[in-house]
């Protein structure tokens, strides 16, 4: 191997140069940074399963503490914890007002519009809420995201849940991070936390931190009637006016897993999208189709299902069931959702049927699970919109669950003008060719022209001479060594080609059937 100036760059020399330049240990701070990030990422959707796994252990531990607490309460030994137990006793003054902008990441929405309210709130983190609390008297209504630890079932002697101080609110926490190792309700938690006052009962029975957004305020007027010694504590309680969002409820009634894929929330999926991974995701959410729109001047585009027409931008899969359109006597008006949402597109499957919409009033979204992927290879062919926008589209490969009803996969559709039965079973053909296929998501019979609209690269790479005939498109996922890889199998009598959806993969051709095989 000859390099510059006729020098020999053999393997040994290259190895040595690589080692000399790059064989360095990771910086010491990096591991700590990653561990911290992992800790704060625990509430990502898979955590719901962690909750379930850990629930029995935690409940056992909590039961022991509850017994101790009950004894303490009965003996008149009240809790002495305050929201500032882990910080200085005196109030910290911040020189400037913290901006009321969304400061939380997934799984929380960055803004919310509680049902029945016209107001939209930027969602703050617990530390930001503490900063507002510690600035002095400030009873603005704010939305705060955190992990809620409800009070234990203890006997409180004389004070009810409405009381700002004492039992049981002294044992109620909204944590800044989902630390499962905290000793709550004995607290105080290890990290930042505030103490909410609420009668809300979460849907989950597991007594573990629950991701939630509370809308409420500090410095409630009732603090004035607290005993002087407790007044400061009362002012610092976060009185909850409404529950703006609750992850458990938002995913309640959805299955935990479907067709071998864990079911995740929309905000969890958005995080996955940012990592540029091309695997298949099963996303639970609320679907709202666009109203019928007239889109003039639609240019000829290579990938019509990704960038053709204005209705794509009005079609949403939302984290929460938002009513984003209003039907009035003069027409339909609306805008994008306030919470996390993605634009799904449907190249080979039919969108879920809309719920009947009201003649007047707000739209009602449909509760669905969609299987699909971001970062689709075909985004590179987008022209009218930036390819980055197309990469962010959620390409739906199957709709396995609608309003509680599970559909059997693969779904089959026939988009040809003159449907004729296939002389072979495309699914069987694919299974024979691909061997370790993971899941077959949908099967569509299409004409050659339709095939080019769905797989624009096919005419460049096809093994076939003509595109005028009929084709069977089988969307399947192959469970490879790492991330499940999905793509289109294009099948006809002569063989099959697999075009993976991900941007980092390449075409795979499969041989046709052996003689005599149909």
């Amino acid at each position: 191997m000859t390099g510059s100036r006729g020098e020999e760059w053999d393997d040994r020399r290259l190895d040595a140069a690589f080692q000399g330049r790059f064989d360095r240990p990771a910086p010491l701070y990096l591991r700590e940074r990653i561990v911290q990030d992992v800790a704060t990422s625990r509430a990502a959707p898979p955590l719901l399963r962690t909750f379930r796994v850990a629930a029995r252990t935690a409940i056992t531990a909590i039961a022991i503490f509850v017994a101790v607490l009950a004894t303490m309460s009965i003996n008149g030994i009240g809790p002495t914890l305050s929201p500032r137990a882990s910080s200085s006793a005196s109030s910290t003054r911040f020189p400037t007002t913290p901006p009321l902008i969304g400061t939380v990441g997934a799984p929380f929405p960055s803004s919310i519009r509680p049902s029945g309210s016209d107001a939209t709130y930027a969602v703050l983190s617990v530390p930001d809420a503490m900063a507002i609390r510690d600035r002095g008297v400030d009873s603005r209504e704010i939305a705060v995201a955190g992990w809620y630890v409800p009070p234990p079932p203890i006997a409180c002697l004389s004070l009810g849940a409405d009381a700002l101080w004492g039992c049981p609110n002294a044992y109620t926490w909204l944590l800044g991070s989902p630390d499962l190792r905290i000793q709550a309700p004995l607290g105080p938690p290890n990290g930042p936390a505030i103490q909410p006052v609420t009668k809300w009962v979460p849907a989950s029975t597991a007594r573990l931190p629950i991701p939630v957004v509370f809308v409420g305020h500090f410095d409630d007027a009732r603090a004035a009637s607290c005993p002087a010694a407790e007044r400061r504590q009362c002012q610092d309680r976060f009185v909850v006016d409404t529950v703006g969002w609750d992850l458990v409820a938002s995913l309640a009634d959805f299955p935990v897993e479907i067709d071998g894929l864990p079911v995740i929330s929309v905000s969890g999926a958005i995080l996955d999208r940012e990592t540029d991974l091309s695997g298949e995701l099963a996303i639970a959410g609320w679907f709202q189709a666009s109203p019928r729109l007239f889109c003039p001047f639609v240019a000829q585009v290579a990938v019509p299902f990704m960038e053709g027409g204005c209705e794509i931008r009005g079609t949403w899969l939302m984290e929460t069931p938002e009513s984003i359109m209003k039907v009035t006597s003069i027409g339909v008006s609306g805008g994008p959702p306030a919470g996390p949402a993605i634009n799904p597109v449907f190249p080979t499957v039919a969108p879920p049927a809309d719920r009947p919409q009201p003649i007047q009033g707000g739209s009602i979204p449909t509760k669905v699970i969609m299987i699909g992927h971001f970062n689709d290879r075909r985004a590179s062919l987008c022209s009218r919109e930036a390819p980055q926008v197309c990469l962010g589209r959620f390409v739906v490969d199957a709709v396995p669950w609608v309003e509680g009803a599970e559909r059997v996969l693969p779904e089959r559709t026939d988009a040809r003008e003159q449907a004729t039965p296939a002389p072979f079973d495309p699914v069987t053909r694919i299974r024979e060719a691909a061997g370790n296929l993971g899941a077959v998501l949908n099967v569509a019979a299409v004409s050659g022209a339709e095939l080019i609209r769905i797989e624009p690269e096919f005419d460049l790479v096809a093994l076939h001479e003509s595109i005028r005939g009929s084709f069977w498109i089988v969307t399947g996922a192959i469970y490879g060594p790492a991330i499940p890889m999905a793509g289109t199998f294009v099948v006809d009598e002569q063989g099959a080609v697999f075009l993976p959806f991900g941007t980092h993969f390449e075409l795979i051709g499969f041989p046709g059937p052996s003689p005599g095989q149909t």
Binding site: S4, L14, A17, T275, P481, A482, I483, F505
Partner: protein, 180 residues
């Protein structure tokens, strides 16, 4: 790995401790500077933590992590865009001072190795991230074709031809660097 798949953060932290140096090395070779390598390493493990349930075969952890790391590093390079960041390398003084007592032959070897490493870094800067990734897996991590293919999610024949193309590109880049 099984415990991590079930969502045990401590088990995952053990994986981080075990694999962080390898991931950092690989991303450093692709992105070319330490700050971006640290970011890509961090993104790799966060993505891995979020995706760990998708790891169906725990024995493939190494290849799976490498694949995520390569993606994260590619994204870092892509996201860098117009930001031209180039590390400033230490330059040997070449004077008598501290090096004076080292025998000439050893000094030559050390200087040549240092020179090679710097030229390699500059040459890699001219290559596509995919080429850097496959070369790093081969020459830094000592991976064979089957392991490279598994990590990149491609067939072995493809890995072989891509490695060949990457080495050809590297040679051309080394030559261009040599003329500077």
């Amino acid at each position: 790995v099984e415990r991590a798949r079930r969502g045990d953060p401590e088990a995952f932290e053990a994986i981080v401790a075990d694999r962080i140096d390898a991931v950092y090395r690989l991303t450093l070779a692709i992105v070319g500077n330490e700050a971006d390598a640290a970011d890509a390493t961090q993104e790799t493990f966060i993505a891995a933590w979020r995706q760990v349930r998708a790891l169906r075969d725990p024995a493939r952890l190494e290849a799976w992590l490498a694949r995520i790391a390569v993606n994260a590093a590619r994204m870092t390079v892509r996201g860098r865009g117009r930001r031209a960041l180039r590390e400033i390398h230490e330059v040997s003084s070449g004077g008598e001072g501290a090096l004076g007592s080292i025998p000439d032959a050893s000094l030559d070897r050390a200087q040549r190795a240092d020179d090679d490493a710097r030229r390699l870094a500059a040459a890699l800067d001219r290559l596509e991230p995919d080429h850097r990734a496959i070369l790093a897996m081969r020459h830094l991590e000592g991976k064979g074709i089957p392991e490279i293919a598994a990590a990149l999610g491609i067939r072995q024949g493809t890995a072989k031809s891509r490695l060949f193309a990457a080495r050809k590109a590297l040679l051309a880049a080394l030559e261009a660097e040599g003329r500077r």
